[in-house]
Amino acid sequence: MVPLSRYWEILRLDPAADGVGYKRQLLPLAMEFFQVQGLAPEGLKQMPGRSSLLHYTTQQYLHQLFRTQSPWNAFQAATAGLCLRCYVSYAIVHACQRLARFFTSYFTYRDLLPFVLDDDGKTLIVLRHHDQQQLGLDADGTMRSLPFPIVSVEILRTYDPNRPAATRASLENWAYYCVRQQGQLKDFIAKQGLCRLSNWALLNRVSHRQLEGFSPHDRALISAFHRVYRRDRRRQHQTGKCPDPTPAQLQEMSGYLQQVGINLRGAALLHKLQTLAMGLRQLEQWVGGVAPPAISIDELDSETGQVSQLPDPRAENNVMAIERQEIQDFCHEQLVRSLAQAITVGLSEHVASIQRRPRYAKFANCILQGLWLIYSQGKSQTEIAPLLGMTNQIQVSRVLGLTELLNRVRRHTVEMLFHSLVKLVEDLDLVQIQSQPDYLNNLQTAIESFVDEEIFQAAAAELMTTKGRAFDSLYAQQLRHQIQTYQEVNLA
């Protein structure tokens, strides 16, 4: 369940190297307003099944106050807006995480945050001029124009919670849609993500469903390209970067195009294909420039217009035989020992996995040294490449697999805690665990959120930082300790 504190605790951009890229900040003004307005209903607790609907009504109410433009309640409007800006800040961070998930080889969500998480919540803001303009509201009631519009306020300004249910997006979906449209962020994704792909890989990626979105002319071009280029890529067992189409391939495509009355050949055809591919470097080409899916598609009951009440596998259910607190106490005891074991297992698995990869096997025995240089001496991957006899940072990153290793260790830690928990706590009914998927999933998620908070959030944040890393996390400490032990054994 989404906590109500999201209406008064804002996520602010935090460039600090060792953090997650943002920091939560309580805004007393928003909190007080929320409570005075009676918006913190006990109802949420009494009706957990309706919480999404209550969030929606809360947002609708706050949004209405925010858009009221009469001069005598400007403060009220601005403060209602502030509550929503807090709420939207979570949606923005989440939107960046959603987007970055598809470009993990190229950048992390932290790289996207500066473009869209630009609201520190320090300025009260109202809308004026028929909702077209954001104005700062000073303590004495004077309004002043802002140097540039704030993204979260733009999201709220363009959001319409009163549209008919069938075409209404949730505030989260609307924020995601707006974030995706943000100019600088789009440029960044185009340059850092889509530009890494060749023209021809981009054209290959167009699915038959997406083809429907192109003009008949362009559709014919892409189809002809697919017919020849995709076939040859498989037949000629090509791998890696897609080469330019050969004259013979272009000629064959021309043949197919001629059959549908398009006369394009040679350099002209190549140029036209390149132009099409250039267009595909914009994210909109893939996601469509249209509004986000309305709630009705996936969240509203088509008949009642109400938010549908599906059983939530992530909900904490009553079958949970032991209390979260008990799990936590138990896990605390086991935590460090489990982590140490998980690192041992994870490291040896990782080394074995690199040994199985033909291209990297020869580097398997420098993994420990590489990890030591990074985690103990704070060196960058580029710096250590020559020390390990490698030529570039990409090799180092593939061989050391820092996030992969972290993922393995996290997985093993969770698994070990899970198994010792099942063994030790009599209240846990094994049959129930095996026969009720939701129960099993809840238990696992509870353990995960515990270990993430205790260990892996900090460890993951360290990895995402590019400059001035200091590896102080519990994970880094334990990893260093293990490597030291290994090296002592080796020396002895």
Binding site: V2, S52, F102, T104, A201, S207, D298, E404, Q444, A460
Partner: protein, 444 residues
């Protein structure tokens, strides 16, 4: 509580690791894709092959003690891979997994064939979304979902399927944390996720409102531009998709290079059984023909003494009497219908007799019936030599007597219970076979 769908699930704090593909993986995926038909399908199968290789690498590394069986996977059955764009029936332990490969998820929509969600033959315990980054030679596991979850979401959201027999599901219906899948595979009892029972629905006949020209369908399949979904409704399509023998024969038909070849008789029979409306034999016992029988020009012979004016009917009556003399237990006045067939300029006539084997049995599921097919000529002539009367059902060929030495008639007798369906094909070595509408033992 509805956050399951209202709120996007929390994302794992560590982004998913790309799984590198080896040259061997790529070679194997190419081989798999070479076996399927059509360029679009080959590319999709290639991607699915890459997804499968990457996924199994990941699985073996992360959970080495789980047994992974690739041999049942649909990618190794080109007849299935050609019609269902997903890698289903990957067996891990006692679970069945279905992999959904995609080249990108920037629109956050997962394309999933209806067959793998709705048809018991192809459903899986888990559906895994795998992003294939072909040029980067790696795959990323972007999420997975249990059958029961997807089934519940699908039912509560009235999704509309695309014309190509697929759905677009929002990515957030899938759990983004692949480790959860590992836990399920290691800990969960497979019976905890209940999959639909496998059962061929024979009563779906009512939905086959638009009669299909089987020959036209086969011609369409031959030109690879016309896949099944463009030619059949989903109701028709699911009957074809669930019949693996039929899929295999369709595949062989599409693959055979010569367009002049006439299709395999078994292919015609199975397509007819799957797609054509049946003639209901049961109604004959009550002395009436249904619409379908009327359309086909069947006519009943009155069981009373009113002798039809057509000369040849006497010959059929004589033949029935002769069979009775040869101690076939034909009752004195069986219900019989005639169907005239002008086949290759030969005026054939088929007589179909139906009777209950045991008159005492109550007319219920237990009752057994006999159906006797007699093929003769509309004239006094004898049957062409080498003519074959082939009677089959969904399982195989039951009888195929061949005319020789100026035989005037061919006989084939089958027995069955209510619901059983038979299909009759007239074959001759020199001509394309003629498969008639299927006959089903039903009540009105």
């Amino acid at each position: 509580m509805s956050y399951a769908t209202l709120e996007y699930p929390p994302l794992p704090i560590i982004p998913p690791d790309p799984i590198p593909l080896t040259q061997t993986d790529i070679q194997q995926a190419i081989q798999l894709s070479d076996a399927v038909l059509g360029e679009e399908c080959q590319w999709q199968t290639y991607l699915q092959g890459l997804a499968l290789m990457g996924f199994t690498t990941w699985l073996r590394e992360r959970s080495p003690h789980l047994s992974v069986q690739l041999e049942h996977c649909s990618l190794w059955q080109p007849e299935v891979a050609t019609v269902i764009p997903a890698a289903c029936k990957l067996i891990v332990g006692d679970f069945s997994l279905c992999l959904l490969a995609t080249e990108h998820l920037w629109h956050e929509l997962v394309n999933i064939p209806r067959a793998v969600l709705e048809l018991p033959t192809f459903t899986a315990h888990f559906y895994v979304v795998i992003e294939v980054q072909e040029e980067e030679e790696q795959v990323v596991i972007q999420g997975f979902a249990r059958f029961d979850q997807l089934d519940a979401y699908r039912r509560s959201h009235t999704l509309s399927p695309h014309p190509d027999w697929s759905y677009s599901l929002p990515l957030h219906w899938f759990d983004p944390e692949p480790n959860h899948l590992l836990t399920y595979l290691q800990v969960l009892d497979p019976a905890a996720i209940i999959l639909p029972e496998s059962a061929m629905d024979t009563s779906a006949d009512q939905t086959l409102d638009h009669p299909i020209d089987v020959y036209q369908l086969l011609a369409g399949l031959k030109s690879s531009n016309c896949p099944l979904w463009q030619q059949l409704s989903w109701e028709q399509g699911q009957r074809v998709l669930q019949n693996l023998e039929l899929l295999r024969l369709c595949y062989q038909w599409q693959q055979a290079p010569n367009t002049e070849d006439s299709p395999n008789v078994r292919l015609l029979e199975l397509l007819t059984l799957a797609l054509q409306r049946v003639v209901r034999l049961g109604r004959w016992l009550q002395g009436e023909l249904d619409d379908m029988a009327n359309q086909l020009g069947l006519f009943l012979l009155p069981t009373t003494a009113m002798v039809a004016p057509m000369l040849s009917l006497d010959r059929f009556e004589a033949a029935i009497a002769e069979l009775r003399n040869q101690s076939m237990d034909i009752p004195p006045q069986p219900t019989r219908a005639y169907q005239d067939l002008d086949w290759q300029d030969v005026p054939l006539r088929l007589c179909i007799l139906t009777w209950r084997v045991s008159e005492n049995a109550a007319l219920d599921d237990q009752a057994r019936f006999s159906v006797l097919f007699i093929l003769g000529m509309q004239t006094n002539a004898t049957l062409p030599d080498g003519l074959k009367l082939r009677v089959s059902n969904a399982i195989g060929v039951l009888h195929e007597p061949i005319a020789e030495f100026d035989d005037p008639f061919l006989f084939a007798r089958v027995q069955g219970q209510l619901g059983d369906t038979f299909v009759v094909t007239i074959c001759h070595i020199n001509c394309p076979p003629l498969t008639l509408a299927p006959y089903q033992l039903t009540l009105a």
